[in-house]
């Protein structure tokens, strides 16, 4: 399998000379195509900063981020926009759907920004909606949907462009356990059936247990890695809990 994401010695500093905070302190790791990678860590460990840097929402202080061999830290504003619309898919904790648009339109927006022909859009939207089980709510506005439905619409929007990498920031954070389970199973399915690659930040060990591999971050550094391998989800969950207790507890709700 090819490497889709390479993070090399990534550093992110906040503040000025007198009062420097190292949010990311030289992190390096790779993600291969079709992997479902979780990022865990206590609040303030730098996991969201890491995701923001990879997603080009934030800019890195030093180091490289290569996606499909291209260093995104060196891209200009226009190229960044192109990169985001063609290679990335976002799922946020608070959904970030546009409340002026229906579910259908929210999903279609990702395609219209890519200037895809209208004839293809309908087929694609309906296919992805069916995949995520939201065909029923396509005509509804975000305020008419439940949290779980909203998050699945947001996920549909993220995957419809077939991005190289899907970035999810606490996607289950605002969902109840049942909705969270559905969403996580959807993600699992996307990886296994659609060959999607997902990088997911979470503090929830249950959510993390769906991943193939977990990166643990502490004080801006890579602390540990856990690969699921042939273990069952339950076994993997127990292993995660073990590392968390080693980390000093991730039970604060960041």
């Amino acid at each position: 399998m090819s490497t889709i994401l390479q993070v090399k010695h990534l550093e992110k500093y906040y503040g000025n000379k007198g009062n420097l905070t190292k949010a990311l302190d030289g992190i390096s790791f790779d993600v291969k195509t079709g992997e479902y990678v979780g990022v865990m860590g206590a609040s303030g460990s730098g996991k969201t900063t890491l995701l923001n840097c990879i997603s080009t929402i934030d800019s890195a202080t030093a180091g490289q981020i290569l996606i499909n061999g291209q260093d995104i830290t060196e891209l200009g504003d226009k190229a960044l926009a192109k990169f985001r619309r063609e290679s990335l898919g976002f799922v946020f904790q608070d959904f970030n759907l546009l409340d002026t648009l229906t579910a259908y339109e929210n999903i279609a927006l990702a395609l219209t920004i890519l200037r895809q022909p209208a004839s293809e859009i309908d087929v694609k939207v309906r296919r992805v909606a069916k995949l995520l089980g939201i065909s029923m709510v396509l005509d509804k506005f975000p305020y008419q949907m439940s949290g779980g439905q909203k998050q699945r619409v947001a996920s549909a929007r993220a995957i419809i462009t077939n991005p190289a990498l899907i970035l999810a920031d606490e996607p289950t954070g605002a969902l109840d356990s049942k909705s969270a389970k559905t969403l996580l199973e959807n993600f699992e399915q996307l990886v296994s059936e659609q060959d999607a690659t997902i990088l997911m930040v979470t503090h929830d060990p249950v959510a993390a247990s769906y991943c193939n591999r977990i990166l643990f971050i502490r004080d801006g550094k890579l602390f540990n890695q856990l690969v699921r391998g042939q273990h069952s989800r339950k076994q993997f969950f127990d292993q995660i809990i073990e590392v968390i207790s080693l980390l000093g507890g991730a039970d604060d709700n960041a």
Partner: protein, 678 residues
Amino acid sequence: MTTLKLAFRSVRKSFRDFTVYFLTLTLGVSLFYVFNSIDSQQSIMSLTSGQSSALVMLNQIMSNFSILISVILGLLIIYANRYLLRRRKKEFGVYMTLGMERSQISRILVLETVFIGLIALVAGSALGVVLSQGMAVVTANLLGAGIASFKFIFSLAALRSTVLFFGLTFLLIMIFNVVMVRRQKLIDLIYAARRNERFKLPHLGRSVLLFILSLACIGSAYYLVADNGILMVPVLWSAVALGVVGTFLFFFSLSGFFLKLLQQTKKVYFSGLNMFVLRQINSKINTTYVSMTMVCLMLFVAICTLSSGMGLARAMSAATAKSTPYDASFSIDERYTLTSDNEIHIDKEYPAAGVDIMALAKERGVSLKFAKDYATVRYYTAEPNMVEVTKVSGRAVSLKNIYIQLSDYNRLLELQGIKPLALKTGEYAVSSVTPYGKELIDTMGDRLYEQTITLQDKRLSLNKSRVFFHTLETSSNEENVLAVVVPDGLLVGAPAARDVLNIQYKNPNVEPQAVANLNKFGDISQLSAGFETKAQVVEATGSITATLAYLAVYLGVVFLIAAATVLAIAQLSEASDNVRRYRLLHKVGTDDKMINRAVFAQILVYFGVPLTLALVHAVVGISIVSNLFSTFQGMKIMGSSLVAALIIIAIYGGYFMATYFGSKSVITREYAKRESET
């Protein structure tokens, strides 16, 4: 086509949530059009050349003031736009994460501004055109002009300047928005909502201290103005500065002060949602005291301009009506000239027997066929000169004393359609036209009534019921004259002082005929002769009255709209911020009635507190202004500010209601849908 669709959608959403923004834009556009289109109103009026030049002047003054107004409106629109834009940062963030380029986002914003601008311009101009039809009637009234024929009034010039000004404003907004989109970092956009959620807890001691200090500042500002009036400029400025600082401190400390105060009285604090509402207000007033101060001061300006401007205009037109009871008055008396050392020199004494105006008319070929009725009256000088110098409102005033015989006086009353006056033997009456006269008579009090007159060996005394305020002739300058009315025959042999011919027309259309005939009197050797018609007087004062009234409404309403809009937009956007809190209240079982009441209370406080302070400021300010003017115009602003109050209630109240219903719908819509999903 996505950009167009997105822009269109978001405009539609703004329509729903920010009715107030559109209301303001539309009102602004229509006001601008109305007050710039005054000269086009003459198409429906029959105007004399004097009236039409007055109208042109009025239009000129209004267009000049429109520059100031456009600056205020422009700033207001930019402020509102910035406020609305700030709330949409996250939306732009989402666009960017989806890979939209900044130029595309800018294009959406530009399109939106074009949409909003077009809608506001069309709606506002339409409203303006409708309003200007009605205003033409008011203008005609103020200028004393007749309505020739009703027809549709439309001013292309006014429309052009309206489109130009608002077009420029919207262009400015577009540039502003594009710059904002270009400047912002994605991370700041996407996490915009999570920021600035900090509370500053008020310290009781500091709040109380600042509150007292603010009251002291405001109090001393009042004292300075009350003590020195507004004519001493340096004092006035320090009073204004103290007032502004006091108002600022007032809002800075008010909520903390009240919160702490009410927390002491647990019965009130823990009743219903009081606690929540107070905390709500407190959490925001801490950060909004600057805008509250601005709102309060704008309201103060609006109230003062509206009530004093309209009061002054009303007083002036009342004074004009009072001083023009006859359609025309022709008079002859002595001609004065001022010598080089400023002494009055009488060119020739007025003949003791007076001048017979009717004989003169015959001689000069003056025809009075245009008159329905007319009467001559002769003023005499006689002893004693009852009132010479008296202090009125702290100023020395002298009233000229003239004597009139009863039959002449009654003819004048008849001309005015007033019941004739009957004098018992041994009685005299006094009459004065000027506002001073009344005050003077009041000031003199018993001294006046004790005064007796001896004429032809007859003693006459004044009965309290024999004091009148009738006008003796139509004139643009009121003379400080006190007329003493005595029974016929007692003035035989007394020297004449002035002869007057008062005329009532058959109908208003004979004015040119009247002017042509009265002009035939020409010059009368060495004496001062001349006439004034009611139309001339009304025309002269009418343009001033109209200018005052229109300026007051124009400036006042714009300031009022500005203040109300700032409040309304802040409250409405707060409502969507607070949805989470209200949803929580709803979830813990608060019923809708209670929540609505809480929303109402919160908005009422926001609208009410600045208005209350502004009203207090205004009452103090206006009473001082009115003291200043009453001595020369008889203006009672307080009494005549009913119209102003109505305008304020209509506009400010309208914005209040729009804000309340807007906030309520945002909140209930939000938790209603939450319910339906579970």
